[in-house]
C-alpha cells in the first residue's frame, strides 16, 4: 500500500514569491492534516480536513496561507507571499478516522522549503 505522497520534496524560492505544496493521502483516508515542522521542533498542526471540509484551521495564518482539498482526496497548501520565516518542513498526514480523533496519523516525507 502506498503511503502519503508529497511533492515537491524540496523547494527554494525568494521571499515574496508564491509556493505550493501537494499531498496525496493514503487511499481511503478521509482525514487529511497539514503540519509545519521547524528545525529542531515537533510538528504543529496548520489545518485538518474531514473529506473536503476544513474542520480546524485555527492555526493557519490566513493572511498568506491557503489550502484546499478538492473532491476530498488530494490537497494543496499555498503560501503567498512567502517570508523568510516560512522556511521549514511542511508535512502532510492522513488517517481513516472513526476512533474519536485517536486514530493513527500517517505522515508523508514532507516538503522542505527554503526562502531566501
Amino acid at each position: 500500500e502506498a503511503g502519503v505522497v508529497q511533492s515537491p520534496r524540496y523547494k527554494i524560492i525568494e521571499k515574496k514569491q508564491p509556493v505550493a505544496f501537494w499531498c496525496n493521502p493514503i487511499s481511503g483516508h478521509n482525514t487529511l492534516y497539514w503540519y509545519l515542522q521547524n528545525l529542531g521542533q515537533g510538528p504543529e498542526l496548520l489545518i485538518r480536513y474531514e473529506n473536503e471540509e476544513a474542520v480546524d484551521d485555527s492555526q493557519l495564518p490566513k493572511d498568506r496561507f491557503s489550502a484546499e482539498r478538492l473532491k476530498g482526496v488530494d490537497s494543496t497548501l499555498k503560501i503567498q507571499p512567502a517570508e523568510l520565516g516560512d522556511s521549514a518542513v511542511y508535512l502532510c498526514a492522513s488517517s481513516n478516522g472513526g476512533t474519536g480523533g485517536r486514530e493513527t496519523q500517517y505522515f508523508g516525507p514532507g516538503t522542505r522549503l527554503l526562502v531566501l
Binding site: 502519503v4 482525514t31 529542531g40 521542533q41 515537533g42 510538528p43 504543529e44 498542526l45 485538518r48 474542520v55 480546524d56 508535512l91 498526514a93 474519536g100 480523533g101 485517536r102 493513527t104 496519523q105 500517517y106 505522515f107 508523508g108 516525507p109 514532507g110
Partner: protein, 114 residues
Amino acid sequence: QQQVKQSPQSLIVQKGGISIINCAYENTAFDYFPWYQQFPGKGPALLIAIRPDVSEKKEGRFTISFNKSAKQFSLHIMDSQPGDSATYFCAASGAPPSYGKLTFGQGTILTVHP
C-alpha cells in the same frame, strides 16, 4: 503555550542500554498519548500509543509508562540498538478543542553507539 514538554533534548546511550524519554502535559482533556519516531528526511511514524486508563503498555522493546495524577508519561527503549537512533516525539490529543489534533513535544534526538 507549550502544552507538552519533552526531555531530554538529546540522549546518547550505548548499544544494549536503556533509553528513557519523558514528557509532561498540562491539558487534562488529553486522553491519547502516542510516541512518534522520525528518521532524517522522513516523516514521523507511530511507534506506540497509550490511553490513560492503563499505566503501562509494552510492545517489543518499547514501553510507555503513564502517570495520570502527575500528568506525565515516558518512553522506555530496552536493549537499545544503533538502528533506534532517531528523533522521538511524544504527543497528545483528546476531547475538543484537541479532538483529532496532535500536540507534539519538542523532540529528543537519540543516538545509540555500537
